[in-house]
């Protein structure tokens, strides 16, 4: 039928305009698709990876334990001894990293907290298999020297394993290794059970009911979801923009078709098919790209999180969402302008210039403002996290954290550290492990963590807890304040006298040095070794900072991924709508030419308008970015560190976006304006 031929012909006869519309629509689908693809794969696979390890539901710690007796308890399904030796591993001259050494009874029959062999062979006596995510911490070599129970032990690396239930070693800065069975002092029994129970002479630990980095992963997945949603809004606005521009160019023809007998419903159908065809083409372009980008990003994130992707299959709802976004969103947002354009009176359509320019410019400005807001908010949130790290770092007025394995006279420890020349100040802290939290006793000048509520403890018997412990709502502690800290598990702080009366404390020290250098840490290490003290770790604050930053890499990557997509989508929005706008004004530019405007005057005028829209949208973007930032600061902080991160504005984001919109505004309007000035005046005046 002729009318459908017209629809196809319109698409084909204006390839530039159609391509721009397809590209703009595709950008939206791509943004949403890539985000949702990555999010759906990771949500499924991270959970699957962790569940596949058959994680322990209880861990029993005891000197000796009747394993069969535990196995016979009601509700117990599996038990497996898996002692854990905490030691250190030498990575250089007097440079050590914490080592978590898991002792496995039978590598051929691992039932709980499963691991898989990634390369090489299972370790035999005198050998160690390194967890693959720790590998980058070691500086190569087939032999390592471990320090376990005060003894140096050379071990040959037999291969690498994947322990999906462990936090990535490179992130926690802890080397995880697996060794074959040996006699140990403390038994650790992994249990899978339907219920919890008490067992005589054993401490029962309830491991977290998810991956150790579940909070971090949830923050990251939340960000992907939130940015996915924002990209969806952005893409809908972008499509509305494009359709407005396309229809503005069709209004006269719609009027002509009405005069030759077309009914409104016929015109609506033609316009909708026009939009649907463009949408279908955009899907063909965007869906495969979104799939590839989403999968690539999922692979990258999985490797960062030490997870394996058993499948990169995308669930049907995600594909259907993309289809819906790709077809339904354009059709839905097209309905109103189509309805309006087809109802415009013939008189108006054929007569006055029917282009509703102000409305379209408002739409373009809004689209860009939303894009800009997402971009600025992403950089604000990133800045807030950096600031949180800075604050945490500044709150610790020491350079080196020294911990011992056993309780040793703290005076002795401080005395030895003081012998190192670069040391300015040493403070002894004591630490004890309680059920689900660490208890730290200090009378400190070296710790000033920011208070979220209440005050610092003033007398014995008062406790200050960090936000991670506050989230657990601890009982039986006289809490006078809550502090915010990064990179620590649930912790309670009290005076040394308060903690000193508790059982099982170990001494450690915080050291302030003159040079803040790595050499002092090595000197302290050597001094303690000479004195035969059981060092658990000597950690520089800068290493701690790096560990915290490494935990945030994945979140930063989500923010960067989203910001890049927004720049792409927003850039296309401006490019397409300004181009289409200038094209639709060809006649007006022809008039300007006819009354003597030079191409230069015309181009300057149009480019100035493009830049003006960019700048206007930038002002709105800053306004919209504020509540968006506040929400994301709250959400990401609460999920990850159990407290919102501080609201901050990153001038960097604001100015980068300004530069981008000005540049894009100028580029997108310059080319069509330049082209318009090349069209002979007679043609421009009769342009439809």
């Amino acid at each position: 039928m002729t009318r459908w031929r017209k629809v196809f012909r319109d698409l084909a006869e204006t390839p530039g305009r159609s391509a721009l519309a397809v590209l703009a629509m595709a950008a939206g689908v791509f943004g949403v698709g890539a985000m949702l693809t990555a999010q759906s794969i990771l949500t499924r696979e991270l959970d699957r990876t962790w569940t596949a390890t058959n994680p322990a539901t209880l861990i029993l710690h005891a000197r000796t334990l009747d394993v069969d007796a535990v196995r016979r308890l009601p509700g117990v399904r599996e038990v497996e001894p898996r002692p854990l030796l905490m030691g250190r591993i030498r990575i250089g001259n007097d440079e050590w990293l914490p080592l978590a050494l898991f002792v496995v009874r039978d590598f051929a029959d691992i039932r709980i907290d499963r691991i898989t062999l990634s390369s090489g062979a299972w370790p035999r006596a005198g050998e160690i298999a390194i967890e693959r995510s720790s590998l980058s911490l070691l500086r190569g070599g087939q032999r390592i020297v471990a320090h376990i129970d005060g003894r140096e032990e050379p071990l040959r690396v037999s291969g690498t394993v994947h322990a999906a239930g462990l936090a990535p070693g490179w992130m926690d800065h802890i080397v995880a290794g697996f060794v074959s069975w040996r006699d140990v002092e403390d038994l650790r029994l992994l249990v899978r059970s339907d219920r919890t129970f008490a067992f005589p002479n054993a401490r029962v630990e309830t491991p977290p009911s998810g991956h150790p980095h579940a909070d971090q992963m949830n923050t990251f997945l939340y960000l992907l979801g939130a940015f996915g949603l924002l990209t969806l809004v952005l893409s809908a606005l972008l499509v509305a923009n494009i359709i407005h521009a396309l229809l503005a160019n069709q209004v006269r023809q719609l009027g002509v078709m009405k005069t030759v007998g077309a009914s409104t419903s016929q015109l609506v159908a033609m316009s909708l098919v026009h939009v649907a065809l463009l949408a279908a083409m955009s899907l063909l372009v965007a869906m495969p790209l979104a799939l590839s980008a989403g999968r690539a990003y999922a692979r990258f994130s999985a490797s960062m999180l030490n997870a394996s992707l058993s499948s990169v299959g995308v669930p049907m709802p995600v594909l259907l969402t993309q289809l819906a976004v790709g077809v339904l969103v354009p059709v839905a947002v097209a309905l109103i302008p189509i309805h309006r354009a087809t109802r415009i009176s013939i008189h108006t359509a054929l007569g006055r210039d029917p282009v509703q320019r102000r409305e379209r410019m408002l739409l373009t400005t809004t689209t860009l403002a939303i894009g800009g807001a997402v971009f600025i908010a992403a950089l604000n949130v990133s800045q807030s996290w950096s600031k949180s790290i800075d604050d945490d770092f500044r709150a610790r007025r020491y350079d080196i954290d020294v911990r011992l394995r056993d309780g040793v006279g703290e005076r002795e420890l401080a005395r030895i550290i003081r012998t190192v020349p670069d040391v300015v100040h040493v403070e002894s802290w004591i630490e004890a492990s309680r059920d689900g939290y660490a208890l730290v006793g200090l009378d400190s000048r070296l710790l000033a963590l920011p208070l979220i509520e209440g005050r610092w403890f003033a007398k014995d018997g008062e406790y200050v807890i960090n936000q991670a412990l506050a989230a657990k709502k601890p009982k039986n502690l006289r809490i006078v304040g809550v502090v915010k800290e990064l990179g620590s598990g649930p912790t309670a702080y009290a005076s040394r006298a308060t903690v000193g009366s508790k059982l099982g404390t170990t001494a450690n020290a915080r050291v302030r040095t003159r040079s803040h250098g790595a050499a002092t840490a090595r000197d302290i290490e050597r001094a303690l070794q000479r004195a035969n003290l059981p060092v658990a770790h000597v950690q520089r604050l800068t290493d701690r900072r790096r560990a915290i930053e490494d935990h945030l890499v994945i979140i930063e990557s989500a923010i960067f991924f989203a910001a890049t997509l927004v720049v792409l989508v927003g850039g296309l929005a401006l490019l397409s709508s300004l181009t289409l706008n200038v094209v639709s004004r060809t006649r007006e530019l022809g008039v300007l030419s006819a009354i003597g405007a030079t191409p230069r005057i015309i181009a300057t005028r149009v480019v100035r308008e493009g830049v003006r829209i960019g700048v206007l949208s930038w002002v709105f973007a800053i306004a919209v970015s504020m509540p968006a930032t506040w929400l994301m600061d709250r959400a990401t902080g609460t999920i990850f560190i159990k407290t919102p991160v501080e609201f901050l504005i990153a001038p960097r984001g604001i100015f980068i976006w300004l530069a981008l919109v000005v540049l894009l505004g100028a580029i997108s309007s310059f080319y069509p304006a330049w082209r318009a000035t090349r069209i002979p005046v007679r043609e421009a005046l009769s342009y439809e």
């Binding site: 002729t2 017209k6 002509v256 030759v260 439809e688």
Partner: protein, 218 residues
């Protein structure tokens, strides 16, 4: 065939109310070729729009075949217009992405007046009648102004309407093409079609000239 009773049309503009028509009474018989003349802004195009149902009067009535068309609903009006009125414009208004032939089959498609297979043949007949059958498969921008206007007239005849309305149809043509268009109108009127032409040419070859000034018939 056409009867206008006290038709007024007022537009609200930024400068205030603009009275395009002020109580026009008029009658046109079937088969008449009528010219409406007047200065720019006199109201002649508004009058034509009233006759074609493109615009509705602010007051008064437009009867065509004793039917008050301003009372028709928008959809009824569209369908009536498609069957009863053919339009010819000064700037031709051919759809740029359709060939000459397709521009003529489009109105038939919208109204479904003929079986699909016969539409092409009828469009060819019409093109032959206006003398541009050789241009059937060309796009409008490949045709001269005179050829485009002939195709536009053929399109106006596509659904065989009894009434043809032309707004300055020769305004964009040279004198020989202009004369040819009027000759065509004369021929069509002879077949019994009513033709109303808005024109600047006071000596246009028409049966009757209606002069409009300041929204009134004088």
């Amino acid at each position: 065939m056409i009867r206008l009773q006290s038709v007024t049309k007022t537009y609200d503009t930024a400068a205030g109310a603009f009275h395009a028509l002020r109580g026009v009474d008029l009658g046109i018989e079937a088969g008449e070729l009528v010219g409406i003349v007047g200065k720019s802004g006199s109201g002649k195009s508004t009058l034509l729009n009233m006759l074609g149902g493109i615009d509705r009067p602010s007051s008064g009535s437009v009867f065509i075949h004793d039917r008050a068309i301003e009372r028709l609903r928008t959809s009824e009006l569209a369908s009536w217009r498609g069957r009863s009125v053919g339009f010819v414009f000064q700037f031709f208004q051919l759809l740029p992405t359709l060939t000459a032939l397709e521009n003529i089959t489009l109105p038939m498609d919208f109204l479904g007046v003929l079986p699909r297979k016969q539409r092409r043949a009828r469009a060819m007949e019409l093109l032959e009648r206006v003398g541009v059958e050789a241009q059937a498969d060309k796009l409008p921008n490949a045709l001269s102004g005179g050829e485009q206007q002939r195709v536009a007239i053929a399109r106006a005849l596509a659904n065989d309407p009894p009434l043809l309305l032309a707004d300055e149809p020769t305004g964009n043509l040279d004198s020989s093409n202009g004369a040819a268009v009027f000759a065509l109108f004369r021929e069509l009127a002879r077949d019994g079609r009513t033709i109303v032409v808005v024109t600047h040419e006071r000596d246009a070859p028409v049966d009757r000239v209606i002069t409009i000034a300041d929204g009134r018939v004088v």
